[in-house]
């Protein structure tokens, strides 16, 4: 999902401290939570830092494709909703950075990893938002896929991550519903508007399915993440859940899913779907999607141009503290 690029396997290695590791695993198995100062295996800590920070970066980079449409929203109602949604994404990024920092890494290091291109973010945000219908499709599909992935994360074994996810999930529902309402309005509009909605669905469908990450045969992290209860369902299980939930919603809109092999399998109760283009997935993850460079350029520019504000705020706070201290001395 937002952490789909977790492709470097942690060296399993010999347990450095088998006794503490056994106690840790027993705690996880008992559905208790691991808290920041508790002992944890180094690989657990590293995996969480990577996963939570990728998730945070995805929220922050995810503000860009939608921010692109704030000034061009078709009505005041749509504009305030989109503004609030993009603000939520910023907030979600901040909850998650705060959760990652409890593992002993600083905010500055995390941001640095993103800007240096060392940390990944969700591949989906490297696709362009060409029309207003894309804002509907993102809310409905991208946020819908995110919810599917994030609900089980509310029970993640690491306390601060689970608590951040609970806050996020409460807010995501608004995102998905506003997106679906945009799609519904377009689908019930003029033939041109309906065509716009269909075009957005055609372009977003496959990239959204890729959000769940590589198929289970190729996913290297699933087994250990499941044992640690960071993950509760495999990529393919979540993808299937999403498709089953979403296909009827598309039919209600009168839109068609761009997959000629999509068919309902009555025996299993699941929608069967065609092959995902994994080459495209790898290309986008590797930094060669339609907008990767543009997204990173925008983040670096914002960071660089904000440097003087960060410095000035610190200098001002320092000056005020000094002044207060001087006044206190004078008063004594």
């Amino acid at each position: 999902m937002y952490t789909q690029a977790l492709n470097t396997r942690e060296a399993a290695g010999a347990a450095a401290d088998p006794e503490r590791e056994a106690r840790f695993q027993a705690c996880v198995d008992a559905e208790s939570r691991i808290e920041p100062n508790d002992w944890m295996p180094d690989a657990y800590r590293r995996t969480l830092i990577r996963q939570i920070s990728q998730h945070a970066h995805s929220e922050i980079v995810g503000m860009l494709p939608e921010g692109n449409w704030i000034t061009r929203a078709p009505s005041l109602k749509r504009k305030v909703a989109l503004l609030a949604k993009v603000q939520d994404e910023g907030g979600h990024g901040l909850y998650l950075y705060a959760a990652a920092e409890t593992l002993g890494i600083s905010r500055e290091e995390l941001v640095e990893q993103l800007l240096a291109g060392k940390a990944k973010y969700a591949s989906i945000f490297n696709y362009p938002t060409l029309t207003w219908a894309d804002i509907g499709a993102i809310g409905w599909l991208v946020d819908g896929a995110a919810i599917m992935n994030q609900i089980p994360l509310c029970r993640c074994s690491y306390g601060p991550y689970a608590r951040a996810m609970i806050r996020i999930c409460k807010e995501e529902s608004f995102h998905q519903r506003q997106g679906y309402e945009i799609m519904l309005t377009l689908a019930r509009g003029t033939p041109e508007q309906k065509a716009m909605a269909q075009d957005a669905l055609d372009r977003w469908w496959w990239p959204v399915l890729m959000m769940f990450g590589p198929s289970d045969q190729d996913s290297q992290h699933t087994d250990v993440s499941m044992r640690w209860k960071i993950k509760r369902f495999t990529n393919d299980e979540l993808r299937q859940k999403f498709i089953d939930a979403t296909v009827p919603q598309a039919h209600y809109l009168g839109l068609s899913i761009p997959d000629p092999r999509l068919a309902f399998d009555a025996a299993s109760g699941h929608w069967r779907f065609g092959e995902i283009d994994w080459d495209e997935f790898k290309r986008v993850i590797a930094g060669n999607g339609p907008c990767n460079r543009e997204r990173m350029r925008a983040r670096r520019k914002a960071h660089d141009e904000g440097a003087w504000v960060r410095e000035a705020a610190l200098a001002y706070a320092q000056k005020r503290r000094q002044r207060q201290a001087a006044m206190q001395v004078a008063a004594e």
Partner: protein, 95 residues
């Protein structure tokens, strides 16, 4: 460029009167006033709170989970602190 980092603050929110302030997360800010503003923007966008406390993270002293056994042992061994330790005849009724 060596940029100095903004300090970290812990955020506590009272959801409604009658409830205690509860830890919500953390924010970065240069001073207390900015920490309060940032906490409001990050943690109370939907009426989650009536009151916010911010505390410099460095000012919090925490017990060590590794010492948990020693720290909290007395509570486990002093069962006479609980009402169920004492016997009251049934005829006396609820006490």
């Amino acid at each position: 460029m060596t940029e100095q980092n903004w300090p970290l603050w812990e955020v506590f929110i009272r959801t409604r009167n009658g409830m205690a302030h509860r830890h919500a997360g953390s924010v970065h800010a240069v001073d207390a006033a900015m920490a309060l503003q940032n906490a409001r923007d990050v943690y109370t966008r939907r009426g989650e709170g009536l009151s916010i406390w911010v505390v410099p993270s460095a000012a919090i002293t925490a017990s060590d989970p590794a010492e948990q056994g020693m720290m909290f042992e007395p509570t486990a061994s002093k069962i006479y602190r609980h009402p169920s330790f004492y016997e009251v005849p049934e005829e006396v009724g609820h006490m």
